[in-house]
């Protein structure tokens, strides 16, 4: 069975190659091919899953070694894969949701003449993401990490004719570079500390490394995770990334790629377990982002940006859980999977709404759509209930566990983290209710688009509604399926380890308080957007609203501190370069040039002077030889 692992990656990779190199003759069939390759990968994933279920819990990890990728003495990197419960969970999520979104894109991108290329990029993404989660060493993981970054860049900027899309792609690329530096430094640190960067040997040798080293590696890994998963302080790119086509937002910027940071931290559990300081920083980053994203999500009128804020916030939950250590790893991944379902569903729903509304994204221009798009309404609604943690739905189980684990951290930290998580749950309920109300309820506030076409909202084609329905099932049932009988915990526990903290309050209390804040959040939203008519043009709003609309001034902060600071730095460097470095270089060049010009005059074209030169040269040669003997 382990020989199938490489095929998981090979299928979508082949798809990408065929689609991107195949040329125009594949335009007609390209989207089917792309979907097929993704589906093949999913099929192999399912086969491996069934095989793995048939084994005993401690015999489930499989390895496949293809060849030595970088054969340098003392620096060995293998093209080798490791498939365990954790990677398989990701494989199923990536290829499963990936396949659904491929199907969705068939309808969504129908009128785009570059649809074949779009599917090629999607395949490329799936291949790179699978490589990321299947790699058995950090260097290969880094390869996949950069691969998804590339695919993300290409897909955010897919509509490159729009300057905003091109800029957003560049922004995502640049911000991610900062995080990638963290990953590369972490790998270098590992190599200097352990002499290797393969998972097994590194984790096995963690005990021999000093805590300081582990903390440094952990923090660098966290930096990488922050970049890829849009966590504070590297969060600024995710909102702009919504410029990409909606299926991309659903697959890459909600369900899979942005959760790579969580994977990285959970995968590196052994390192973080040995570095409590790094873990603390992880939880702080998670907690801050969880509030940050939620607050931003409250103020956005662009449906996709509101959802993007929500994504950031939900990943904050996962990072928080991952930072809690063994009491949180499993729940981080569980929330990641359920979030993959409902957030992908929500994005696809948003795409479906936009599809029916002439690509309008301003929720203030929606309203009352529930009767026009019943399927979208129902699936979106189920996703909504799941994300706010309505009892019995997916989000309820997974988020509740994280809040519980946060309290179980113990001490003041536990109270603070738990409190933040609870507050986040309230805000989640508020902003998601707001999205729901603005879009599907209330009066019709539809506006004609720029060319004066009034919108005629309609339900989307089957290729789009089918994936939404499937994902809605996941949103409803996944959480319960995982939690009842601790199935998910038993599944992942051999990889991540599991521990029970000592919650200062009982699980029931946590659940009840979650319910209370949920009701409060929904009620406030209802009071603000349900009972009163919603103005088409956004009101000025409070200070906090205005700040949240501007993403809590993240870009202004970056501009003032990084861009301006960078400009000053480069300006002074340029000055030094001009006056000092160039002075030396140009001086050298000028003197070489001057010398050259003078020596050149010796070459006067007269054979007689050449002969003199030869004669003189010979004399010197003889003299020097004799002199050497004399000395």
């Amino acid at each position: 069975m382990e020989n199938l692992i490489a095929l998981l990656i090979a299928a979508p990779l082949l798809g990408a190659v065929v689609l991107l190199c195949g040329g125009r003759r594949l335009d007609k069939a390209g989207h089917w091919l792309g979907t097929l390759f993704a589906a093949v990968s999913f099929g192999i994933g399912v086969a491996l899953f069934i095989d793995m279920l048939g084994r005993s819990a401690d015999d489930r990890t499989m390895f496949q070694r293809l060849y030595t990728w970088i054969p340098v003495e003392g620096f060995q990197a293998d093209m080798a894969f490791q498939l365990d419960q954790l990677s398989l969970t990701f494989v199923l999520l990536i290829s499963g949701v990936g396949t659904l979104i491929h199907i969705y894109s068939i309808g969504y991108m129908e009128h785009d003449e570059r649809r074949r290329r779009f599917f090629g990029y999607l395949n490329l993404f799936v291949a790179a993401m699978l490589l990321l989660v299947l790699a058995d060493n950090y260097l290969l993981l880094y390869f996949g990490w950069e691969g998804v970054g590339l695919a993300s860049y290409l897909l955010i900027g897919f509509w490159q004719h729009k300057p905003s899309a091109a800029t957003a792609a560049k922004k995502a690329f640049l911000v991610n570079r900062v995080g990638d530096i963290g990953l590369s430094i972490a790998i270098m640190l590992m190599f200097t500390t352990f002499g290797t960067f393969a998972f097994g040997p590194v984790f096995g040798a963690v005990g021999q490394a000093s805590e300081g080293k582990l903390t440094a590696i952990g923090l660098m890994l966290l930096l990488a995770a922050c970049g890829k998963s849009a966590q504070v302080p590297l969060q600024s790119w995710l909102g702009d990334a919504m410029e990409g086509p909606t299926p991309v937002s659903a697959l890459i910027h909600a369900a899979t790629m942005v959760t790579a940071g969580v994977y990285l931290i959970v995968r590196s559990a052994a390192i973080f377990n040995g570095a409590p300081d790094a873990q603390l920083v992880v939880t702080v980053v998670g907690a801050v982002t969880l509030l940050f994203g939620a607050i931003v999500g409250c103020a956005k009128d662009d449906i996709k940006k509101a959802l993007a804020g929500s994504t950031m916030s939900q990943i904050g939950y996962m990072i928080l859980a991952a930072g809690l250590g063994p009491i949180g790893y499993v729940f981080a991944i569980m929330h990641l999977v359920t979030h993959g379902f409902f957030k992908a569903g929500l994005f696809l729903g948003a795409g479906s709404v936009m599809h029916g509304m002439n690509d309008e994204v301003d929720m203030r221009r929606y309203g009352g759509l529930r009767t026009y798009m019943p399927i979208t309404f129902v699936t979106f609604g189920l996703g909504y209930l799941a994300i706010i943690g309505f009892p019995g739905l997916s989000g309820f189980f997974s988020k509740d566990k994280i809040i519980e684990a946060a309290f179980a951290k113990g001490g003041t930290e536990g109270w603070i983290l738990g409190g933040v998580a609870l507050l986040g749950a309230a805000i989640t309920a508020f902003y998601m209710t707001r999205v729901m109300l603005l879009t599907f309820f209330g009066e019709k506030r539809w506006q004609p688009d720029a060319e004066g076409h009034a919108p005629h909202p309609h339900e989307s084609p089957k290729s789009m509604t089918f994936p939404m329905i499937v994902l809605a099932f996941g949103s409803v049932f996944a959480g319960g399926f995982f939690s009842i009988g601790d199935r998910f915990v038993d599944w992942l526990e051999p990889v991540t380890g599991e521990a029970h903290g000592n919650p200062p309050i009982s699980a029931l209390t946590v659940t009840l308080s979650t319910m209370v804040v949920l009701v409060i959040g929904v009620a406030i939203a209802w009071g603000m957007y349900g009972r009163k008519p919603v103005p088409v043009v956004a009101p000025r709003g409070s200070l906090l609203t205005r700040a949240a609309r501007r993403d809590l001034y993240q870009d202004d902060f970056n501009h003032v501190v990084l861009v301006r600071g960078g400009e000053h730095l480069t300006r002074s460097l340029v000055y030094v370069d001009h006056s000092l470095v160039d002075g030396v270089v140009n001086g050298t060049a000028a003197s070489v040039g001057g010398l050259s010009g003078r020596l050149r005059k010796l070459q006067n074209g007269y054979a007689r002077s050449y002969a003199v030169s030869m004669f003189g040269g010979t004399a010197i040669l003889i003299a020097a030889t004799l002199l050497m003997r004399a000395v």
Partner: protein, 551 residues
Amino acid sequence: MSTATAAQALLTLAANGPADKIPAPHIEYAQLAPTLIVVGAAVLGVLVEAFVPRRSRYYVQVFLAVAALASAFAAVVGLAAGGYGSTKAHIAAMGAIAVDGPALFLQGTILLASIVAVFTFAERRLDPKAHGNRVDSFAAQAASVPGSDSEKAAVKAGFTTTEVFPLALFAIAGMLIFPAANDLLTLFIALEVFSLPLYLLCAVARRQRLMSQEAAVKYFLLGAFSSAFLLFGIALIYGYAGSVSYAVIADVVDGTVAKLDPALASTMGNDALLLIGGALILMGLLFKVGAVPFHMWTPDVYQGAPTPVTGFMAAATKVAAFGALLRLLYVVLPGLRWDWRPVMWGVAIVTMLAGAVIAVTQTDVKRLLAYSSIAHAGFILAGVIATSAQGVQSVLFYLLAYSFVTIGAFAVVTLVRDAGGEATHLSKWAGLGRRSPLTAAVFAVFLLAFAGIPLTSGFAGKFAVFKAAADGGAGVLVVVGVLSSAIAAFFYIRVIVLMFFSEPKADGPTVAVPSPLTMTTIAVGVAVTLVLGLAPQYFLDLAGQASTFVR
């Protein structure tokens, strides 16, 4: 092929009284096959000139030359495969010629380079037809005065100087013997055999004939001058050792053999003779490789000679001359290492620096390449000075790499033309990359190889010689070498910048579409440059296996 030892034996016989019989010299024809094939083809070529009708001479000559060179190369490969490069290496032809690894490697290099060079000789598509006849780079009738009526008549009649092919073959034959010569007289004869045809070849350019003739006269005068020094050096060494044979001289230098000849008792063993004679012979060889201060002919001759000849000369002469230099220093004078090494250090340093520095202000692409070849001579000298097997290996590899880059680069120069023939002034190359991206890109590859940028053969070669020099204790030399490489990189890159980042001139040159012949030359040049750059190990190993001189 009479040799000094044979001659000496005769003299001894004569002194002892009347001889009954003269022993026939023993010649290993099979082992000298590469040279003999080329000489034979050259003689045949002369007969072709005499007897074959003018119309078909060109084809017969080209075929003959290429076939001879190819079969000579096959013979070299055969000898190498037969172990003559390693286990069976020995001195053939009564002590006159060495058949060993370095000789075979260099002969192979010379032959391969010559084949592609002959392709450029045979190119007839670049110039527009004159009176309905295709013309090559050579004068219609070399003997007619430039601009005279007889020249015009010759052009009208469609004459071509097909004699260049036998001339080239004679030169190649001399070059094949030069690095294999195992006594000083053979060395001198080989030198003259390849020099004289080259002087002639330099004089027969079709365009700018006066410049071409001037170049040839300068080359001839200075070449004769240097030959005189060389010959004088040989005489002095004979006075010192009583023999011209490398092995005997080496033994006398080492002190293993004393007093050979009573007739020379007063001079033998006189170190002044040895040192002065050695310096003079070195000078003769350094003249051929174009080392400073014996380099001054190089720019003028490179510029004036027909470009195909320049490419051939720049590549093959350098290979042959460095081969002879290596053998002289490693076989004859290793005992004098402590005398010649410091001197050669100085020559190498001056050569590298002067070549690189003066090239900076050149405005003609052929002169630029000439100075570049001077700088490269300096780099190769750095490898020569290493006095180790590694040094020999690196020099052999460098010569292989360098000769193909050079021939390729000069072949590209023949393509860029305007109304006056080749447009060699650099200002005319501005913006070439916009108009003819492929040609400019190919030239850029060659320039990068000259500059020694990684992934080209130039890098591998430079790395090898510098490494050998550093291991041989010549760290200072390596530092100077790297500095000159930096200076040299400036003018190579400047040409690339000029080609790709300058606006093309309105009346700029056009790139002629060559026949498959020149295309092959250029393609082979690029291929060798890239292969030796990407996977140098096999060829380094080959050069390493061939790095032992037989004594």
